[in-house]
Each structure stands twice: as structure tokens, then as C-alpha cells.
């Protein structure tokens, strides 16, 4: 039993490998992009819209409202990153219920990649509203002695972000496989339902935490301005 889709190697060039993680990621990308294009190819601006458009608008508007509620800023700058994080993780986790589908979020490489993106995005967004010195000055406040702790905090929260998602998804997959071996009837179904709930929650938590980190990096600037 392989616990990570990284272990399913499809092509190996020595310096790089095409594994199940990348394959299923591309599949999800095609699915999400194709689905979005299919629904949005004939969007209506009238008050009468299709069910698919309605679902998309509810989803996008919900994310926009949530982002603006947390950041107290316009959501247009955050929506592509945070929204895509949420949607990708959500779709990936939901598709984990499909037999033989290995969710890319069950790969530590994927969660690390997302965590690294967030790690880079936090100062990037922060520097859109603050100067470099002001931003870096946060690490030595209230005293320079806090510098290692702050750096450690940055790294640890990024690491926690990656491991939390990986652990939840991977554990759900492993428990499902184990239960399928031990009690093939009924119990795995319940666990799959719980796994679905966990997947949705994890998607929400990951996106929310990423948003909170970004918002907090920009929020300081607001206090300085005030």
C-alpha cells in the first residue's frame, strides 16, 4: 500500500519524475478549467440565469464576501490566490471519493508547494501596502531578540499549514484503505462521508489561514497609517 500519490511513478527522467500527483493535478486543472469555461461561455447578465451560473455566482460571491469580511479590503486582489487554493483543495478532496483517484492534496509535495506559495504570498501582499523596512521591522519588534522567534514562527506556521492538510487527507485515505481491508461493508462508507466532510473543512481552513496570514501582514500597515 502506497500512502502518497508521489510514489506512483509514471515517467522517470532521472532529474524528474511524472507521478500520480502531477497526473491527477493536471486532471483537476483540466476539469476545473473546462468546467468553468463550459459554464461561463454563455453567462447571462439578466436576472434570469442558469443553475450552473447560479452555483458559480453563489460560490464566487460567497468567497468575495468572506474575503472582504476578513480583510476589510476589496477581494479582487486576493480572490485568484485564495479562491483557487480553496477550490483546488476542495475539488481534490471531493474527487478522493472516486475509486482509484489519488487526491494530490494527499501528497506532502503538493501541500508543501501550497505552503511555500502562501509563505511567499504573505510578504508579497504585505509589501503592496508597506515598505520593506516597515515590513521587516515587524520581525524585531518589540525587540531584536524576537527576530529568531518570529522567523521560527513564520517557518513553523508554513510547515504546519502543509502538514495539517497532508496529514488530514493522507490519514483519511489510509484509514479508508485499512477499513476496507478489515470491514469491507458499510463502515468504509461512513468513513468516506467523514473524509468528505474533513476534506471540505480542510480546504476551508487552509484558505482561511492563508487569508488571515496575508491580511495580518497588510493589517499592520493600516495601524501605522492610523
Amino acid at each position: 500500500m502506497k500512502y502518497s500519490p508521489d510514489l506512483y511513478i509514471l515517467f522517470d527522467w532521472g532529474w524528474g519524475q511524472i507521478n500520480a500527483t502531477l497526473l491527477f493535478t493536471w486532471l483537476i486543472i483540466i476539469l476545473m478549467t473546462g468546467g468553468s469555461w463550459w459554464i461561463t461561455r454563455r453567462l447571462s447578465c439578466s436576472t434570469t440565469i442558469s443553475a450552473g451560473q447560479n452555483l458559480l455566482e453563489v460560490m464566487v460571491q460567497g468567497m468575495v464576501d468572506h474575503i472582504e469580511e476578513i480583510t476589510h479590503r476589496s477581494a479582487h486582489h486576493f480572490l485568484p490566490l485564495v479562491g483557487t487554493l480553496f477550490l483546488f483543495i476542495l475539488v481534490s478532496n471531493i474527487l478522493g471519493l472516486v475509486p482509484f483517484f489519488q487526491p494530490p492534496t494527499g501528497s506532502l509535495s503538493t501541500t508543501c508547494a501550497f505552503a511555500l506559495l502562501v509563505f511567499v504570498a504573505v510578504p508579497a501582499y504585505g509589501l503592496t501596502t508597506r515598505t520593506v523596512s516597515n515590513y521587516l521591522g515587524e520581525y524585531i519588534r518589540p525587540t531584536i531578540l524576537m527576530l529568531p522567534f518570529n522567523i521560527l514562527g513564520e517557518i513553523s506556521r508554513t510547515f504546519a499549514l502543509a502538514v495539517r492538510l497532508y496529514g488530514n487527507v493522507m490519514s483519511g485515505t489510509v484509514i479508508g484503505i485499512v477499513l476496507l481491508i478489515i470491514t469491507p461493508l458499510f463502515v468504509p462508507v461512513i468513513m468516506q462521508a467523514l473524509s468528505l466532510l474533513t476534506g471540505v473543512i480542510q480546504a476551508y481552513i487552509f484558505a482561511l489561514l492563508a487569508l488571515v496570514y496575508i491580511a495580518s501582514a497588510m493589517e499592520v500597515e493600516k495601524k501605522d497609517e492610523g
Binding site: G16, W26, T40, S44, V64, S109
Partner: protein, 247 residues
């Protein structure tokens, strides 16, 4: 549990591509559509607000017009009442004047009818009295009423001076006319003629004529003067009594 850094890098690229794709095919179209719809709804709301404002304006104009119409109606009603009052007063005065005229006319007609009635009643009474007297004289005293009246007339002319004025005014008249209410005999005519000649001390021509309006009595006239011996005074008294009784 290990990290494949090639996979990490590939996933970062994959994710960034997905971000770009979703931004192009999901977020932008959906947000644009939503913004357009919101703008459309906003336009409709603004249009509705404009229409509501126009409706409110029209409502105010209508209310003002209604108020003006109501005020004008009140003024016209007041004017109509004043006109009606004036017309009523005029009609009342006209009716009053007509009633007064009719009353005066009726009073005159009544007075005329009363006078006519009294006159006719007096004549009737006199005629009845004459007939009654004639019958009474004839049946109770075997005498003729007319003859007695003529005798009495002749006696009065001769004995008394009650008719002195009439005879004093007659200075040798050429002609005298004697009117009687009843036909008299030849002898009675001769007696009257003899009496008058004697009283006048002259012998003018004396003509006898029948005059029923005298009822019972004799009238002697010459030129503008006349002398009467009849029941005219009695009839007048009777008419006065009757008039006093009727009023």
C-alpha cells in the same frame, strides 16, 4: 513521508497556471457578469427612483390641482348660494308684489260685486215691497197703492213747502217731465197736471213717461232740476244697513 522537490516545483507552476486559468475563465467572467447585472439592477433602481420621483411630483401636482378645484368648488358653491338667495329674494318680492296686486284687484272686484249686489238687492227689495204694498192695499184696504201715492204726492206739493226749492228754481218753465215707475190713469195724469200748474202758477207742457228704474215713485224734472217722490231713500237706508251687516 518524503518531499519530492521536483513535484513541489511542478505543483507550484501547476497552481500558478490554474490561478491564471481560473482568473480568466471563472473569476473575471463571473464577476463581470455580476457587476453588469448589479449595474443593470442599479440602473433600474435609479430609473424606478426617477419614475417614483416623477410620480411623486405628479402626485403633488394632482393634489394641488385637487385642492384648487375643491377651493374653486367651494367658492362657486358659495356664489351659487348667494345668487340663489338673491334670486329667492327677488322672486319673493315679485310674488309679494303680484300677490298685493292680485289682492287689491280682488278687493276691487269684491267691492264692485258688493256694490252691484247691494244695488240689485235694493232694487229687488223695492220691487218686492212695491208688489207687497200693492197687494196689501188692494187686498186689505181695497185701495190702489199707486193712486194713493199720487194723491199723497199731490197733497204734499199743495200743502207743504218741502219742495220749495224746486219750484222756486222754475221760472215759467216751458216743459216739465213726469216720470213714473208704473203706468198711471188719465185721471191721475190730470190731477198731477192740475196740481203742478197750480203750484207753478203757470201752465207749462207736462209730459208723462214710464221709468221702471224708479221702482215705486214719481220724478218731476225740468232742465237740470228734478224733484222726486219715491222709495229711493228707503232703499239707500236698506243698502247701508245691509252693507254694514255684510262687513
Amino acid at each position: 513521508m518524503s518531499v519530492n522537490w521536483f513535484t513541489v516545483a511542478a505543483q507550484i507552476v501547476n497552481f500558478l497556471i490554474l490561478v491564471w486559468l481560473l482568473k480568466k475563465f471563472l473569476y473575471q467572467p463571473v464577476l463581470t457578469a455580476m457587476n453588469k447585472r448589479q449595474q443593470k439592477i442599479q440602473d433600474k433602481l435609479e430609473e424606478a427612483a426617477t419614475l417614483a420621483e416623477a410620480a411623486e411630483k405628479e402626485k403633488k401636482q394632482y393634489l394641488a390641482l385637487q385642492e384648487a378645484t375643491r377651493n374653486r368648488g367651494k367658492e362657486e358653491l358659495l356664489q351659487a348660494r348667494l345668487d340663489a338667495d338673491n334670486l329667492r329674494k327677488k322672486l319673493f318680492q315679485k310674488v309679494e308684489a303680484e300677490a298685493e296686486t292680485a289682492y287689491v284687484s280682488w278687493q276691487n272686484e269684491l267691492s264692485d260685486e258688493k256694490s252691484l249686489f247691494l244695488k240689485q238687492a235694493g232694487v229687488q227689495v223695492a220691487q218686492q215691497f212695491q208688489r207687497l204694498a200693492q197687494s196689501a192695499f188692494r187686498n186689505l184696504a181695497d185701495a190702489d197703492f199707486e193712486e194713493n201715492m199720487i194723491s199723497r204726492f199731490c197733497a204734499l206739493i199743495t200743502k207743504h213747502d218741502s219742495e220749495a226749492d224746486f219750484f222756486r228754481q222754475q221760472q215759467n218753465p216751458d216743459k216739465l217731465q213726469v216720470f213714473t215707475a208704473f203706468p198711471i190713469t188719465r185721471s191721475s195724469q190730470d190731477a198731477i197736471r192740475e196740481t203742478l200748474w197750480r203750484r207753478l202758477a203757470s201752465q207749462p207742457e207736462i209730459c208723462f213717461q214710464l221709468e221702471p228704474t224708479l221702482i215705486a215713485g214719481i220724478r218731476v224734472s225740468s232742465n237740470d232740476h228734478k224733484m222726486e217722490w219715491n222709495v229711493h231713500q228707503y232703499i239707500n237706508d236698506f243698502q247701508n244697513e245691509l252693507e254694514r251687516f255684510l262687513s
